[in-house]
Each structure stands twice: as C-alpha cells, then as structure tokens.
C-alpha cells in the first residue's frame, strides 16, 4: 500500500527479511568492504553496462547482503547493507534505482523470501532487485481499504488447478510501470473474511488486466485503477497456502512499516532539510511565530531521526520491538507539518504551484518539486500503507494490549456481511 516515494533517499532496498543464515552472520564491515573492493576491481563500475553490472553485483551476494547466498546476499547482518551501499556509491557505481521499485524492494521481496517456494525466489528476486521487473501492490479495492480483509476480488479454481481472477483494485501505485503485482483475492466466500483469502503474484501483462490512470490531488497520476477480468493465474504463482492470504499480507505490511523506520539518513537529510535551508536563505520571511514552529519541527524531525537510528540498533542487536509502527505515524505527521510550514514560509511564492500537468511518473519525487507539491503529496503519507488511525489502533491493541472495539464481522461468513 505504500507507494514508496523516495523521501529520505533510502540506500538500496530498505527491506527487512530475516533471511540471514548462520554462515554469513559473522561477517564484519571490513569483510564487506573487502568484498566490494574485490568486486569493483573485477567489474568496472563505469565501463560495464548498467544491467550487466547489477546482475554481477547480485550474483556476488552484494545486492542485499542480509539475503541468503544465491539470492543476492551473503546471510550477513542486516546492518552491513549500508557499508556495501556506501562503497558502491563512492565508486560511482550505477544503483538499482530503489525509488523506482519501492514496493518490489520493500514489500514484495521480503514476502517472496519469507513465504515463496525455492523456485519462486529464484524466478522473481533477481530481476526485482535489478529493477528489470517493477512490482506493484494490488490490495486495496473501492470497498476495502482500511478493512482490507473484506475485499471481494474473486479467485476461482479451474479444473486444471489454476485460478481465474476477477475484480477491481484501486489506488495502485505505479501499476502502469509494473510487470508483476502482489495480489490478495478471495478464494472462499463462505468462511469469515480473514480466512478466505489467498495471495498471488499476478503477471500484469496477462490478458484481462487493464490499468487506468487515477489522477490525484497533486495533478499527476502515480496511482491507478486496475480492472481484472477473468485473468488466468497459474497455481505456481500462488504465494503461501490457499486460505493463508491474510497471514502473508500481514507479513508484507509489517515489512513496510519497519522499512520506513529503518531508513538511515544524516541530520537534516529528510524534508526538514529543505525547510531549514529556506529559513536560512530568507531572513526577510522570518517572524516570531514561524520561528517557534521552525524550532519545534527541527527538534521533532531530529528526534525522529534518532528514533530511527535506535530502531535499527534494536533490530541489529536482535531486539526487534514494536517501535516500527510508531515510525510511520511520526513520519507522516512531520512530513505534513513541515511541508505546510514550507508553503507558509514561502509567502507569496507559496501561492504558485509548479505543474498541474497530468503525468504518470515513474517515481514519486518529493525533492525535485516545489513546496506546494510536497504539501499536497504528504497528505497521502497518513493514508497510504495503513492510515494513521489504523496504525493507532494497532499500537493500542497490539502494543498496549487495550481491548478492541466490539466487532460485528469477526465470525460471520464473508458472503453474509452487510455491505
């Protein structure tokens, strides 16, 4: 559900599968640095064609070092990824354009690693990492957003054991770029809603898949409506057991939240950097009220950055806590407040907008655009990937153990739910 704008220039993928295998777990930063240097000595980062270079990097286990050997990694501690990324960047090596495939890297890949078969991992992970195959996420539907488990896209088994799928998905970021989709569909309408779902990979080029742009309040169309009409999905592209779709989807969403909290950046590396620069460059725009807000936002953004660092340290020390769910709530609110502040600070300039042209971008680009765009785009941050209200429910119930609201839908077969 996260469309993954490249907010804080995450290095490489930002995913968190626990793909570590014991043999690589003793690797140190020095080992990784040595391997990257050896690799660069053998594979010229400048003269080697980009795709060849990325293939070779993947095959050397230096793509996502915490993935298992043979799947682009070394089974090394996750914390070492930043070492590899830094070395490659310093050598001027081409990267895999992580912002162009945020859902693939942040959500599809860890799901495939955790729940996919050996064959599926081999087939999908390499072109996913290199960016040859972009992935999108077909979860939300017009009638099922926060209440994802109520979705109605149907997958019916054909006599050959494969699946025929029909339904409508919506708000699908980058579907117009995607070769593959992770898809949740209903395989059994006769059981309560969470139990009748299954998880698939959908080939977006299959007949019956139609992608229509859906223009958003920024003027452009990052996201789409996707109509699925009698689309054939081979059973080999099912991820996880039939009826386990909710479990797999929950895994996907968890990865996403940790990915956001796990981003590493220097001080003023996020949206606050632009606001602070504007503040320094325009003394004539300063007022006492704006100053107070500037200081508050700067402090909160820096503390959020430190909290992200602490979260990564917890993960690296094998103490994964629930703090990841806090990170997205904070990040959404701060992005919105900071960008709103930026527009006001711009004064008369803030009345202009850079471009309302309807385009279908390949990336969300916060930083290449004006404050007005950032202000509008940030509104999506508290909706995409689980709304901030839903995240508060999750914190209240799963972290604090507070009782849930009375539920009317838990034990009722999906087909009998009121709608």
């Amino acid at each position: 559900m996260l469309d993954g704008p490249e907010l804080n220039a995450p290095v490489s993928d930002g995913s968190v599968p626990d793909g570590s295998v014991p043999d690589g777990s003793a690797l140190t930063a020095g080992d990784i640095r040595d391997r990257v240097r050896q690799f660069l000595a053998a594979t010229n980062p400048v003269s080697t064609p980009r795709q060849d270079f990325l293939h070779a990097r993947f095959d050397a286990g230096l793509a996502w070092v915490h993935y298992p050997p043979g799947l682009g990694g070394l089974g090394a501690p996750r914390a070492l990824q930043v070492v590899a990324d830094t070395e490659f960047a310093a050598a001027g090596a081409p990267d895999n354009d992580p912002g162009g495939n945020a859902i693939g890297l942040g959500m599809a890949a860890p799901t495939i690693l955790a729940f996919g078969s050996g064959k599926q991992r081999k087939r999908w992970l390499r072109p996913l990492w290199t960016g040859e195959e972009i992935w999108c996420q077909l979860f939300s539907e017009p009638g099922a957003g926060s209440d994802l488990a109520s979705l109605g896209t149907r997958a019916v088994r054909d006599p050959g054991g494969d699946w025929v799928v029909s339904g409508q998905k919506v708000w699908t970021s980058l579907a117009h770029q995607a070769r593959w989709a992770i898809l949740v569909a209903r395989t059994d309408p006769d059981v309560p809603k969470h139990r009748g779902l299954s998880y698939f990979a959908l080939d977006m080029t299959a007949p019956g898949v139609e992608v229509r742009p859906l223009r958003q309040l920024t003027g452009e169309a990052e996201f789409n409506e996707v109509f699925i009409t009698d689309v054939h999905i081979p059973d080999a592209d099912r991820i996880g057991e039939v009826g386990d779709g909710w479990k797999v989807a929950t895994g996907t969403l968890m990865n996403e939240r940790v990915a956001i909290g796990g981003m590493s950046m220097p001080r003023e590396g996020g949206m606050i950097g632009g606001a602070a620069r504007a503040w320094r460059e325009h003394p004539e725009r300063r007022t006492p009220g704006l100053h107070d807000r500037m200081l508050r936002l700067w402090a909160e953004a820096e503390i959020a950055r430190l909290a992200g660092l602490r979260l990564r340290q917890q993960l690296a020390a094998g103490q994964p806590g629930p703090e990841g769910s806090a990170a997205k709530i904070v990040f959404a609110r701060l992005n919105q407040e900071i960008s709103g502040f930026e527009v006001e600070l711009a004064g008369a300039e803030g009345l202009r907008y850079d471009d309302w042209t309807m385009r279908r971008p390949a990336h969300a680009d916060f930083f290449g655009r004006g404050p007005g765009y950032r202000y509008l785009r940030a509104k999506g941050n508290s909706i995409e990937g689980g709304t901030s209200e839903i995240l508060r429910n999750i914190v209240a119930e799963r972290v604090l153990g507070l009782p849930s609201e009375p539920r009317v839908d838990k034990d009722v077969p999906w087909k009998d739910l009121p709608r």
Binding site: A307, Q313, L402, P406
Partner: protein, 400 residues
C-alpha cells in the same frame, strides 16, 4: 560490528552512538526497580506528604526519604556512578547515571540523587575537589548546588551571594565568609553541603556546610512536594573556595548540563510509568458495559503517548550518550532531550489524571504526584521553550 561503526562518520548528526541500554544498565535498573518496588511504593511516597494527621501542615512534612537514599546511594552504589573508582566511585558513565534517573522518575522517589549524585558531583569533579567527591561517592554526605532550580545550562553566573571578608575571629587561612540569598534551591533541604556560586573578585564556587551558623534554609511550599525547594540565606557563613573565574564558570555549566540531561531521563521514566498506570486502569475500569480502554477516544491518545515515548527515549539516550562520550553535540542533544521529554512527561501525567476520572483527582491516588513532578521538572533546568530557543544558535536557525 555495530551500527555505530557502520554509520560512524565525522560530523555530529552523522555519528551514531549506541542508544540502547547495555546489559549492565539493565541489571542496575532491575535492582533499583525492585528496591523501589519494595520501599518506595506510591503509598509510601504519599505517606510522607501529609498522610493522616499531617494534612493540615503542608510544606512542613519530611519530604526526603533518607533511609531510602542510604540504600540507593550506598547499597546500590548510585551516589558514586559518575565518580572514578580511584575516588571511591563506581566508575560508570553518564549512560548509567541517566538510567538511574529514569528509574527514580518512574517512582517519583523523594531522594536527592539528581541534586547530589549528578549535579553537585559533576561540579566537584570538574574542579577536582577530591576529598568532597569521595565523601559524596560513598554516600556519606549529600550536596546541592545552590542555584535556583529553574537555572538552565548557559545561564549567567549567579551573583546573589557574595564574599564578605574574613571575620576577625577567623584564624585559619582560606576561610571565607558568604552573605546573600539564593532562592528556590532543589535537593538542599537534605544536603550536608552546599556548593555556592558567589560574587567576588573574581567570582567563584564555595563549599559551605549546612549545619553551621550563618546558613538558614527556609522550606518553600513547593508545587512538587517530592522535590521540595528552599530559600537559603547566608549571613557571614564560613565557606571554602573550590574554584574561581573561568574554572568556576566551567564547573557550573557542566553541572547544569548534567542536571538537564539527567532530568530528561527522569521525565522519560515518569512518562513511561504514567502510561503504564493509565493503560492498566483503562483495561480494568468498566463503563457502558465494557472496559473504558476499548473506546477509541482513549485508545488513540494512549497510542500517541506511546509513540511519543519512542521518540523521547531516543532523545534522552542520545543526550546521555553525548555526555558519556564527551561529544561536542552534547549541548544540542540536551536541548532536544529536555524540551521533548519535558513536554511529553507533562502530557503523560495530565492524561493519567484525566483517564483515571474522579479517582485521579483525589489526594489518595498517586497520579497527582506525577503531575506535580512533571510540571515542576518541566521548568527545572530550563523550560522546554528556552531549550528550543537555544536551538536557534545550536542548529543555526536564527530568529526574526
């Protein structure tokens, strides 16, 4: 290989000190928590503050629990955490000292840890008063820095006390006499020694015993009864000079910085405890035939508090790490931690009162202890606003 190494880089803001609790810290916190759980329960603290028969004498009760302090200071060695082992201390770092403050905050413990083991000890360590440091580290005596409890790092050297020449009867060389008044000092009522900033040529820091003639402490009816303040009058009190001029400035600033960083951890602990108490209560209390904790109007506010705690913890640990590592980013880290944790603790305590309903408004429920400590602590060592204002300079964000 730690993240700290992986992310280590030159500039502050790119360095990544360890923000987790070490095993030693977790052990220390665990021992302290069980001690406090046995001897500093809410009813124990409440009992000191005007239980039956005392309610009509507010401000005249015995706020500090000296027996408890002996156990924390001596048995657990918390008095000497910041003091090197060669000077009879525990040779720990500011990280451990902050962890202890966090635990004491959870219990609103009425002990002079912050004033004596952190603030006064830091001043004495900075000037190298070896003998007094040793006494403090052993927990034999306690000391307080005689400044108004609202004094923030960066405050001007206070000059409300001044050196008056020696008396004719003063035979010993090195005896000075102090005159003047210092208002609103924390942790001084239970202190054996005062470290007094004083005017003179040059200005300096002096040590004065509290038991001598010429020192009068007048208790203040304080908002935070668990950390009672007093005014102190000096009338030709005998004093020993320990630092003057720039050295005295340095010691004062070091002490106030340490106090501000430690109280941020105390506020973190307080907020954590308030959330814990409140969550436990709303799970149990039923209205409308369901636990009140199942109402989203409360759940979301509690979730937000928890989110705030994840941020506060990162800020408080970063400040503690910067002091422990003598990092040049310490002033900025302290400003972040004190402002954020201060505001959060007040909010947590206010929500604690509100979500307990009528019972939270009673004297017998401990929520008010937390509210009063939180509000007072948000002013002590500089308000949140003052600390944020210092970011204008520290983060290069100048005002209008």
């Amino acid at each position: 290989m730690s993240i700290a190494e992986a992310e280590a880089a030159g500039k502050p803001g790119e360095r990544a000190p360890d923000l987790l609790y070490s095993e030693a810290e977790r052990d220390l916190a665990g021992s302290l928590r069980s001690l406090l759980g046995a001897r500093c329960r809410p009813e124990d603290v409440l009992g000191r503050l005007g239980g039956p028969g005392q309610a009509d004498r507010p401000g005249e009760t015995e706020p500090y629990d000296t027996v408890l302090w002996k156990a924390i200071a001596g048995d657990l060695g918390c008095a000497g955490l910041l003091v090197p082992e060669e000077q009879d201390g525990a040779g720990a770092s500011f990280r451990e000292a902050a962890t202890v403050a966090e635990e004491l905050g959870r219990a609103v413990a009425p002990v002079p840890y912050l004033g004596s083991a952190v603030v006064a000890t830091t001043a004495l360590l900075t000037v190298g008063d070896d003998l007094t440091v040793r006494e403090l580290a052993r927990g034999d005596v306690t000391a307080a820095l005689a400044v108004g409890s609202e004094s923030a790092p960066g405050a001007a050297f206070p000059l409300t006390a001044r050196v008056s020449g020696p008396k004719s009867s003063d035979s010993r060389a090195g005896v000075h006499r102090l005159r003047g008044r210092v208002r609103g000092v924390a942790d001084a009522l239970s202190a054996d020694l005062l470290i007094v900033p004083s005017d003179g040529v040059p200005h300096g820091l002096y040590v004065v015993g509290t038991g001598v003639e010429g020192v009068r402490r007048t208790p203040i009816v304080s908002l935070d009864m668990t950390r009672q303040l007093c005014d102190i009058d000096f009338e030709d009190a005998p004093a020993r000079a320990i630092a003057s001029g720039a050295e005295a400035d340095r010691a004062l600033q070091a002490a106030l910085s340490a106090g501000a960083a430690a109280i941020a951890s105390e506020q973190l602990g307080l907020a954590d405890k308030c959330l814990e108490m409140t969550v436990a209560y709303v799970k149990e209390r039923r209205q409308f035939a369901r636990p009140v904790g199942s109402f989203q109007g409360l759940k979301h506010r509690l979730a937000d508090l928890w989110v705030g705690l994840t941020q506060a913890r990162a800020a408080a640990r970063y400040a503690a790490a910067c002091l422990a590592d003598v990092d040049s980013d310490a002033p900025l880290a302290i400003a972040l931690a004190k402002s954020y944790c201060g505001d959060l603790a007040v909010r947590a305590a206010e929500e604690c009162v509100q979500m307990h309903g009528g019972i939270g408004f009673t004297w017998e429920h401990p929520a008010h202890l937390y509210l009063k400590r939180a509000k007072a602590a948000s002013i002590a060592f500089g308000t949140s606003d003052a600390h944020r204002a210092s970011l204008a300079r520290l983060a290069d964000l100048p005002g209008a």
